[in-house]
Symmetry: C3
């Protein structure tokens, strides 16, 4: 099996099926060890992970931070609020300066699509994309794939529906790439204003009515309405209307397959894209997604930093 040996993780677009599975297999090893009580699997002892989050983030930053610490690495939190940007320094100079301090990896989130790619061209240390603009969020797609595989191992026979603001979602984009690569049948659903013009090129089916789509799908992945990115007021009349037509709620339950998986990348707007009872239903794997997130990020950090072998350190 061809292992993941790329220097950077910039997106899922260029990952092969073998590479996706290799990352997930290592994540599973870490997850199993943690569940057996191994708090610390120090394959990255002494390494330094720089967290460069230029957008506010709770779960992704914390997930990478916990992943790094479980691997024995130190983290340097470089959030925009403290940054030299206020002193007029360019992003490239900031990054080159941090690189000159000889850390081992950059984990970067930035509101501009392509920022991690840009940095990868001018730097020598590995870069992990933790979300760039409307482009990609590959660690999210990997944890989603890991979660689906735990419940639906025959991914190539599965039908996955992604619902919401497809046009502005890096989560949707990264998931479409990885799920298509794995052979899944992928569809998207949302108001016409939230579907990107080039959507057909991605090889996905398109729905604008949720109720018509739901009965056919094994996995339903809800996206959050990203109010802070200006979705509201521009693309649909009101949150209530959005919820009525594209939210997953009690009324949606009988329409779905009995063994459907319900996913959400969080943070949820309860009562908007997903109702209380659906979010907390037994078909929801929203919290297991979060748990898998730490394992996936451990796997990614371990791989791009060339950690010691797991067997050696436990």
């Amino acid at each position: 099996m061809k292992k993941f040996q790329q220097k950077h993780l910039l997106g899922t677009e260029n990952l092969s099926k073998e590479e996706l599975l290799d990352i997930i297999e290592t994540a599973k090893k870490f997850k199993d060890l943690i569940n057996k009580g191994h708090d610390r699997i120090a394959t990255l002892e002494g390494k330094i992970v720089v967290l460069m989050f230029f957008e506010p983030s709770t779960r992704t930053r914390s997930s990478f931070e916990i992943a790094a610490k479980r691997l024995g690495a130190s983290t340097i939190d470089f959030s925009s609020i403290k940054s030299s940007a206020t002193k007029g320094e360019t992003l490239i100079d900031t990054a080159k300066n941090l690189e000159a301090m000889q850390p081992d990896v950059f984990v970067i989130r930035h509101s501009n699509s392509g920022t991690p790619y840009l940095l990868s061209k001018i730097q020598n240390i590995p870069i992990i994309n933790a979300g760039d603009g409307f482009h990609e969020h590959p660690s999210q797609a990997l944890l989603d794939l890991m979660t689906i595989l735990e419940h639906k191992p025959h991914i190539e026979k599965q039908k996955v529906l992604i619902v919401g603001d497809i046009a502005h979602s890096r989560v949707a984009r990264s998931n479409i790439y990885s799920l298509k690569t794995m052979g899944a049948d992928v569809a998207v659903c949302g108001p016409a204003t939230m579907l990107p013009p080039e959507i057909n090129k991605l090889g996905v089916k398109v729905y604008t009515e949720l109720d018509k789509a739901l009965p056919n799908y094994d996995v339903v992945m809800m996206l959050r309405i990203q109010a802070e990115r200006g979705s509201i007021n521009n693309q649909f009349p009101s949150l209530r209307e959005y919820s009525r037509f594209w939210g997953l709620k009690d009324k949606s339950k009988p329409l779905m397959k009995p063994d459907v998986l319900i996913m959400h990348p969080g943070p949820m707007n309860r009562g908007v894209e997903i109702s209380q009872s659906v979010a907390d239903s037994e078909r929801s794997v929203i919290l297991p997604q979060v748990t898998n997130g730490v394992a996936i990020r451990m796997s990614l950090l371990h791989k791009v930093c060339n950690g010691k072998s797991i067997e050696e350190v436990i």
Copy 2:
């Protein structure tokens, strides 16, 4: 002796004398080891402590952080400023998501009374209350008790006076519970507007004139005027007036017992509730309180996380 074996530390209200003493005894062990040069007593090696401070805090957050690190644990700093709250997520979802990342303990401060209790009902990991609204601040009361016991071992014969904004002080409330449990004689003193209506039910004596109270007490605990909680302008005419009637100052010295202990939880407003010369006098144990705070928090983290035995790791 019945040891402290509760899952959470939500307050001092439900702690028995034995439990209080058990926590303090372990804290003393840690304090002694630190003073002998043991920087690190790694009973929590590999554990992850999440610091959830939804109110600004210097000393309590730093104290818990140092305590965690001395125990060999990692900390994840989750301050409100970076939080998903800005993305519309509920506190419960935020907490459940962090829990899904499998940390070992939450240390939480929140402006709403009862938040740690609420979380303890819906989560499986231990919760330490680092201050909730006007309710409790149990680690403060424990460090205060530890400090008093160092100077006045026969606590049941001691008379303790708490001075200031009793109605809005979680420090006062937690101290009243623990000191009463220990058998001390507790009184409160402050302007009538700062005394809670139900104060008598707590079994404490009430004074409104400081000068009348001072001669009788072995311990005088000053509370800070919490300007940021709106005490000023509502409850007394001016800071100068407050200082004149309820502040501890040079003129107060001859009124107090010669071996009185003067305490303050900090941060102090010098010149308001306590004068320069009193704060820095030889009867003040304000800085020893801070030192004991780290030891108490080490003890609490060690106990709720079921750390390895101290003897095993030093």
Copy 3:
């Protein structure tokens, strides 16, 4: 050779040639070990470094944080934004409280000149000055000296030119002290409004025209225009004019010695005090300065905290 054995590092003004060289020699050892793959040289295992940055800082704070972590120490980040200052506490009380938590060293940056000196008078733990107002920034001068010595070992024969806002630059001041102590020939250059009145007393040559100065110097150290300290609009008509007369640019290249060293403490204002092509030229040692910064800070932390011997821990 007289080693550096001072308790604090407050400035370079009082460091002898032997002390400067001793700090740099230890830094070189750390640098060599890191380059040989030693991520962690844990001479400060279990120690606690408090980072007190009361001014925004990226590179200096990150550099100290990485240095501390490479030495096996923990860091407590105490930035002003989270501080008790908002609760009306004095700096001295804040510092005394943090000290009572028994950390091992304070690294402090403050906008008021003399703050680290003030704290050193009232505290018992070592203090490293990470920049105080217009006064000193000794770790910067030490990394600059280390970088110069790597290229020009015979420092006493070297001529160093410092260009920019000399009057408001703690970098200039600390460099003038250390370079003079080492026997170098130091000059400053800038608009008359940016030269301090007492500049002659420091024993440096003074230029107001950059083009006249450049041909004579072996090292050209550009300072950044510190817009956030109010240099602009008061001391020169416009950034464009500043750049034209005192910026280092393509036209400056033929004026300089072929083996000149070009330095900048960062963050750079590209196109203002230094042009793109000069900043990235092969005579620039701007990024090596940053790399040396981590090594110098490791050396300083190691020395003031009395770390274990390097040989013992690798």
